[in-house]
């Protein structure tokens, strides 16, 4: 779905942004007439539109940032109180580290630009972002001459907030038993090298764009990251969980599932709503401009899909489990959001509802399935992000105008790559430094074990099964 030149020019002239989301191909192609100075540009006819486009992406960045609080709260709410400090710490670390490594390496590895590839359309070396601009550089990076309806800084920080997400997804799946330092090393490597590499294949203008286009007449379409963010994070989690093993006591000798209860439903709800709130920026900002038509359409499809997901998983859990399940409904909302994220820009309203509804049902069964096969995912990350990311990407080939085959190739290759490299990394970490805390520490909690702190010192907490 590489944007053809004419479209691109429109885009630059009107800041119309294009449906082509995070696709940076803009950078690769035609550069418009260049203003003499930033001041001249800001005095010119495009300045106001450029300013509103740029502003929207920055606001969207703030919204994506707050999703990290959403992850932190939903993950700690769905786990035990004795591991709360540990989970919160991991979330703080991941967002801080994730953005920094993206500044040092990831951004340039993910968006190499036409000449930047080391292995063409497959791999590019990264490197630090610019420190600051002066003289002519200002025009070429701070005006539409940059090839986007926003500045270089805006482009970087918006992408950076996305980058931090993938590892956060894994953080939830491996919670309550992973060694802190091991996780930190793993997350560092995943965020720095693996995430940008996969992203470069599509958003960076790599083979999922050009090659697919020429082979199938359709580029791979992943509007805002059902594949590059969510499926990536979800399947990377699966690999980690497979190596790490389930939490002690999760599965009884006789194979029965012995649920380990999340300790605070309000935290879960806060997390679910904050993630939804952030999604306004996650998808809305992925329009890559404030184009009224596209942004309003994307926000309608996104929210309706999320709401349908929530409704459907509420009712499905009610039917299947005989009780309306709160955490499932919240997972369902997120499932709907993950599902629509690939095609929010190309699906109609009712298709969006259908995508969300199916995602909402899928997530309930996926959670039960992974329990059945003894994959212990305390927060349902694999189900929400992996399964529904996969579903959402394919849905573009069903409801949208995309090609099912291309969508399958895209999400398949990225998911496999995420799984394989995560497996390799995690295995490496396991053999070198070990990945699991001792049974005693798991028993008494990672908060005291890893941090020497308690999350709720004033509260009387119940022992196991009390």
């Amino acid at each position: 779905m590489r944007s053809s030149l004419p479209v691109l020019l429109l885009l630059l002239a009107f800041g119309a942004g294009s449906a082509f989301a995070q696709d940076s191909s803009a950078v690769l192609t035609g550069i418009p007439a260049q203003p003499a100075s930033y001041a001249e540009f800001m005095a010119g006819p495009d300045a106001a539109m450029f300013t509103v486009n740029n502003l929207w992406i920055l606001i969207a960045t703030a919204l994506v940032f707050i999703m990290h609080l959403g992850f932190a709260t939903i993950e700690s709410g769905l786990t035990q109180s004795r591991n709360t400090v540990n989970i919160l710490f991991k979330n703080v670390y991941v967002v801080c580290m994730g953005v920094m490594v993206y500044a040092f390496w990831g951004f340039n590895a993910m968006y190499p630009g036409a000449g930047g590839w080391t292995i063409n359309n497959v791999f590019a070396f990264g490197g630090p972002i610019a420190n600051s601009f002066s003289g002519p550089e200002i025009v070429t990076h701070m005006t539409s001459a940059y090839g986007h309806p926003f500045t270089y800084w805006t482009n970087f920080i918006f992408q950076a907030m996305f980058a931090a997400t993938a590892s956060t997804i894994v953080a939830g799946a491996v919670a309550e038993r992973i060694k802190l330092d091991s996780f930190m090393v793993y997350a560092f490597l995943l965020s720095m090298f693996i995430y940008p590499l996969a992203g470069s294949w599509g958003w960076g203008g790599g083979w999922l764009n050009g090659t697919m286009q020429s082979m199938f007449g359709h580029a791979f379409h992943d509007f805002a990251g059902s594949t590059f963010v969510h499926a990536f994070g979800g399947w990377a989690s699966l690999a980690a969980v497979m190596i790490l093993g389930p939490r002690t006591g999760k599965f009884a000798a006789d194979g029965r599932v012995r649920p380990i209860l999340g300790h605070s439903m309000p935290l879960v709800a806060i997390g679910g709503f904050l993630l939804f709130f952030g999604w306004f920026g996650f998808n809305g900002g992925s329009v890559m401009s404030a184009d009224p038509q596209m942004v309003s359409r994307v926000i309608v499809t996104t929210t309706l899909s999320g709401f349908c997901g929530g409704l459907v998983s509420a009712f499905v859990s009610w039917k299947v489990l005989n009780k309306p399940d709160l955490s499932m409904s919240l997972n369902g909302m997120l499932a709907g959001l993950v599902g629509i994220t690939a095609g929010a820009d190309v699906t109609g309203v009712w298709a969006a509802c259908a995508i969300g509804a199916i995602a909402g049902a899928l997530v309930v069964f996926a959670v039960m399935f992974f329990d059945k096969v003894k994959i212990d995912d305390p927060v349902g990350a694999i189900s929400v992000h992996g399964v529904c990311g996969l579903w959402g990407t394919l849905a573009v080939g069903i409801f949208g105008d995309g090609s099912f085959v291309v969508q399958l190739i895209g999400v398949g290759s990225v998911s496999l790559f995420a799984f394989a490299s995560s497996y390799a990394l995690f295995y490496l970490v396991k053999v070198t430094m070990g990945v699991r805390v001792s049974k005693e520490e798991e028993n008494s909690g990672l908060d005291v074990g890893e941090h020497g702190q308690e999350a709720y010192p004033d509260f009387q907490l119940s022992g196991p099964n009390l």
């Binding site: 209860l261 005989n322 955490s327 329990d371």
Partner: protein
Amino acid sequence: MKLVKAIIKPFKLDEVKEALFEIGVQGMTVTEVKGFGRQKGHTEIYRGSEYTVDFLPKVMLDIAVSDELVPKIIEAIRSSAKTGKIGDGKIFVLPIENAVRIRTDEQGDSAI
């Protein structure tokens, strides 16, 4: 002196307290406990998996009284704590050899 230990259903606490108050009980100590007995726990469901809660919330009263008061107290607790449903709880009577009121150093019956 005796220590009357009563395990009752939490929502009965107020009634029992009133009943004891009426027969002149001046003080008691209450502990939140979990009970395991003939009354079976309920089944709950969490993210698709069932599990049973064996231990049910109960309230335990420790009441130190002079010997002669014991029957009245047992009677008061029984009548006020009873619902007739399984899980109503138990009363145990243990001997106390001595009691002291920290504030006044009073000993024995006068301490309670």
